[in-house]
């Protein structure tokens, strides 16, 4: 393990030559060691592995960027990869619009002055977020099951029973259904973050606008919304990272094959199948590392766009 040696050497070096007092090293060492060894090193090593391939004997050969070429260009790899990428974009788009839209709406309502029962609403709406994605997946799978018929009965109350379908099982509706289940679970996060931002808007600003004759609707669009744009930026990047790293829900509801016919396959499930294998397909660690590296790059691009594009522009508006 070259990293352990390197870290020790670094610690010694820093403690000795540059005169770091021992207690600083003692305070930092455990966290830095565990974090470097089990988080940073594996990430770097994964990038390294993506440049290799294995032969039948299990030996590693350096192949440069060939794996990436295969992932993007070779039809056996690029078909599933682009399919997963497209599905992931849809998954993200639905979260951005529905999850963050409803989250914003709920936060707006919760932040109204003198609202009775505010804490109770907030606590209950946040509840699903606390539960395991796997459990949520099974709950909705049961509820949407035509066998049980709960969803159908429920729609029947509103005279909509005829619209019910096996949404999780149809190729055309499965991805949207899964996305909405995930939206349902995580709506509490944008709601809480936006709610906190709304509470922080100084009353004077709202009062001043009201005195000037602005109605509540106008106050929201012209005064409050521009002030919470930084929070909306944070919510967006958090959604992006979580969505492009998602796996559990689809694995729980649809299994590693992300059916029907890969219509719910996203990068997380594609990564799992590539790395671990499924059914008769044997797992391929180096291609798995390649997929992981692609996901890492996609996430980094998103974070960089946020840091340098969105956030920098926002700073001019913050007060």
């Amino acid at each position: 393990m070259s990293t352990i040696a390197a870290t020790e050497e670094m610690a010694e070096d820093l403690a000795g030559r540059r005169g770091w007092p021992l207690h600083i090293v003692v305070f930092l060492a455990p966290a830095v060691l565990v974090y470097s060894l089990f988080s940073i090193y594996p990430l770097i090593d994964t990038i390294r592995l993506s440049l290799f391939t294995t032969d039948e004997a299990g030996l590693y050969h350096f192949v440069g960027l060939d794996n990436f070429g295969r992932l993007i260009g070779d039809p056996t790899w690029s078909g599933p990869f682009w399919n997963a990428f497209r599905n992931n974009l849809v998954f993200f788009a639905i979260h951005m619009v529905v999850q963050n839209g409803i989250g914003l709406g709920l936060a707006m309502l919760l932040s109204l002055p003198d609202l009775a029962g505010r804490n109770l609403y907030r606590t209950l709406i946040f509840l699903p977020t606390m539960l395991s994605v796997v459990i949520i997946g099974f709950i909705w799978q049961l509820m949407l099951s035509p066998l049980w018929g709960v969803a159908e009965t429920f729609l029947g109350f509103f005279g909509l029973g005829g619209y019910f379908g096996p949404w999780l099982g149809q190729e055309t509706t499965a991805l949207a259904t899964i996305s909405l289940i995930s939206v349902w679970q995580f709506i509490g996060i944008p709601m809480m973050l936006i709610y906190a931002a709304l509470l922080n808007i100084p009353d004077d600003l709202v009062d001043a606008a009201t005195v000037d004759g602005a109605g509540p609707f106008h106050v929201f669009w012209q005064v409050k919304l521009p002030l919470i744009v930084p929070t909306l930026g944070i919510v967006s990047i958090l959604t992006f990272v979580a969505n492009f790293n998602a796996f559990d829900l689809i694995y729980a509801v649809k299994g590693a094959l992300a059916g029907p016919n890969f219509s719910t396959d996203i990068l997380g499930t594609f990564f799992y199948r590539t790395f671990f294998g499924y059914q008769l397909q044997v797992g391929n660690p180096t291609m798995g590392a390649t997929v992981a590296t692609m996901m890492l790059m996609i996430i980094l691009v998103g974070v960089l766009i946020y840091l340098f594009g969105v956030q920098r522009r926002l700073q001019r508006h913050t007060f």
């Binding site: 540059r18 207690h23 594996p42 395991s132």
Partner: protein
């Protein structure tokens, strides 16, 4: 003026109530039906269990056919073990970064923050290779090590923000009395950041308890399954036994519900604290 206000308030409550029902309805539905006979589950899914339809048969078969107690113990061990290490290591590192000025301080803080945005999951290929090499596959130790690495960045960030607010006089006085840096940290600072530790605890615990990925990759068998993985495997096997499926879901939900009732205050404060600037 008050007349048009009232209906508007009613509409607000109506909307919030509706969404609250959407949010907790499915969970209540599962909890309700877990205590009903198979016949009642299908004939009257929305009804409360009564004298005739009440049964615990689902729970009996879960406890009989799976090692739920063991899964629970595994989850508890992993979560508590990881949490303790995240809090202690995280607090120590956060203290060093906020209190002492040393060369590379900012750089180290940035390095430790990478993990907040970059998911450690993407390093799984190498993590598995390492665990095979260390002979830690199918052990809870492997999970604890990964979860500590995963939890540290956010813990250091949150604890650091709280530690910055501790007044200087306290530790300066202690230093004048010749108290060692270690005692200042463990006897003065740690007790002062109790609130922040509670927040960190909630943020660290929940993702660990709920995680499927690492148990699936690193410890999928040998009786080392966590509750999340155990339930996933159990339901895959007994998918047609509705009583058992509903009971296993209820057993998996219950501990989190209890924790949430106890800790929701800390969680809300943690989520909203970031914006209070």
């Amino acid at each position: 003026m008050s007349l048009p206000l009232r209906p508007r308030r009613m509409a607000v409550h109506g909307a919030l109530l509706l969404y609250t029902l959407i949010a907790i309805g499915p969970i209540l539905l599962i909890l309700l039906n877990a205590f009903k006979t198979r016949r009642a589950i299908f004939s009257d899914p929305l009804g409360f269990p009564d004298g005739r339809s009440f049964t615990l048969i689902g729970f009996d078969s879960v406890l009989e056919k799976s090692e739920f107690g063991l899964y629970f113990l595994n989850s508890l061990t992993v979560t508590v073990g990881s949490l303790a290490l995240v809090v202690v290591f995280g607090a120590m590192a956060a203290w060093a970064l906020t209190e002492y000025r040393f060369r590379g301080n900012t750089l180290l803080a940035l390095y430790l923050a990478i993990g907040i945005m970059v998911p450690i999951r993407l390093g799984s290929v190498s993590i598995l290779r390492m665990m095979v090499e260390f002979d830690l596959v199918n052990t809870l130790t492997a999970l604890v090590l990964v979860y500590v690495a995963q939890g540290l960045p956010l813990a250091i960030l949150i604890l650091g923000e709280f530690m910055q607010q501790i007044p200087r006089d306290l530790r300066d006085a202690a230093r004048c009395d010749g108290v060692s840096e270690y005692r200042i940290f463990f006897s003065i600072i740690l007790p002062l950041v109790r609130q922040a530790i509670a927040t960190v605890a909630v943020f660290t615990m929940v993702p660990i308890w709920n995680d499927l990925w690492f148990p699936l990759i690193l410890a999928p068998g040998d009786g080392k399954q966590t509750v999340t993985l155990g339930v996933q495997q159990f339901i895959g096997q007994y998918v047609t036994d509705w009583n058992a499926v509903l009971a296993s879901l209820t057993l998996a939900i219950a501990p989190i519900l209890v924790l949430y009732v106890l800790f929701s205050r800390h969680l809300v404060r943690g989520l909203t604290a970031g914006a209070v600037k």
